[in-house]
Symmetry: C2
Subunit: 229 residues, 2 copies
DNA sequence: TGTACATCAGTGAACGCGCGTTCACTGATGTAC
DNA sequence: TGTACATCAGTGAACGCGCGTTCACTGATGTAC
């Protein structure tokens, strides 16, 4: 697709890298991200430990790559549903919510690589931040479409200016992809994000099933209340 | 307070256990829960590694104890604010929200011990589950007070029965402390819990500050929309 | 098409390290008479 | 109040382990003429 022709060797390298990451994901799913071991992965692939250093500089690079892949895959799912391209921005918020949950359930540990317990001192490289902005752009697109257009500088009579909207108006660098979106759209995006992360992460951590509740219903209920507040 | 008289030895044991846990918390705050090492803690206390086995059966027991303490401390904060006892159930939801956030910010890693990335295969012992039920009881008390009393079996005319309320009516073991609370109260409790977990965990993981937003305002905005939906 | 050379995947030995945990022991603290 | 004994905190040596990572090397694959 990208047109770059691959030599057989490059193709092979990529295959092995992919297999390493696949085993890494399995290992994380089995015993948590902190238990990730290069030697164990190599053994599982029938290789010696040092062989992996042909493919990854070290353990940290592998983990960062897994995080990058996780972001990339979620961003792609969002873009496919409602991003730029054919039918640009046509997906509603409810659709994005469905996509998010399906993506998260597909591999919960991938979700926690992005939104889980932060590792003290870890800072994602810049290209990962860029991917998360792609993600946000799709969300903002859907939010802008779901909200009445910007009311202009004159406040609607009888409506007090919301202090939170004021804060948003002053801090909208994170929404640089949509410079014309009204504060209400930014606000909707944040609401979508934080509320769905709330239900979803509790679900994935098993807090609801421990209570005998059906996570799908909880999720849907929350989605309803975002779309029609 | 509990009246059990302590011999000096018991008192000393407890002091040392406490110091071990304190160092453990520092270590977790510094490099994450997975980096917790008994030997490192011992060294930090000027003791040899094996000495700690006088106080904890093994590493797992120490971690479980840290989790238990985290739950206990949050439950105590909730009870102090709005639990049974003097002024039973007087605290509003907004007050509980304030307590929750203050508690979480006091030591973010304690929060993640409870609500962070789940460790595959780990199951909390039953007494910890019991503490989380204490917590829920305080929340339910506040929710029951914030909601109109149970409407009885006859549905209000013009109001369609909500399928989610139906699900809640069928699965309310987790709310056993309040058998008479209407479904709307249970629903409010779940909303409080999941939404505040959403904003709070994003804040603690640094996702907002990375965007230039003020987490306190985001939190307050969400609290407002829970209390007055 | 065949030969000479360069590239690169993978190996096995070795490094130092810190981990959790056991064990037999010493010495201090508390208890019973 | 003094002595004999039991309890228990803490030590140091030792266990086996798996980790990440380096290094010099072998052998297969691809490239240039």
């Amino acid at each position: 697709m990208t047109g770059t022709t691959k030599t057989p060797r490059e193709r092979y390298r990529q295959q092995v890298r992919e297999e390493v990451k696949e085993k890494a994901r399995q290992q994380i799913a089995g015993s948590g991200a902190s238990a990730l071991s290069l030697n164990a992965i190599a053994k599982q692939m029938g290789m010696s430990g040092p062989a992996l250093y042909r493919y990854f500089a070290n353990r940290d690079e592998l983990i960062t790559e897994l995080i990058r892949d996780a972001y990339r895959s979620l961003a792609d799912a969002f873009i496919a549903a409602g991003g730029p391209g054919e039918g640009a921005g046509r997906a509603g918020l409810a659709e994005l919510a469905r996509v998010l949950r399906r993506w998260a359930l597909e591999d919960p540990h991938r979700y926690f690589l992005i939104y889980g317990t932060p590792v003290p001192g870890y800072h994602a490289p810049q290209d990962i931040t860029a991917i998360s902005q792609e993600l946000m752009a799709v969300l903002l697109e859907a939010c802008a479409a779901a909200v009445p257009p910007a009311p202009g500088p004159i406040p609607t009579p009888g409506t007090e200016p919301d202090p939170f909207d004021g804060h948003l108006a002053d801090h909208r660098e994170w929404a640089a992809s949509h410079p014309d979106a009204p504060p209400s759209a930014l606000r909707l995006a944040l609401t979508f994000w934080s509320r769905l992360h709330g239900v979803l992460s509790l679900e994935l951590a098993g807090h609801f099933t421990g209570m005998g509740l059906d996570p799908a219903l909880l999720f849907d209920a929350e989605v309803d209340r975002i779309a029609t507040p």
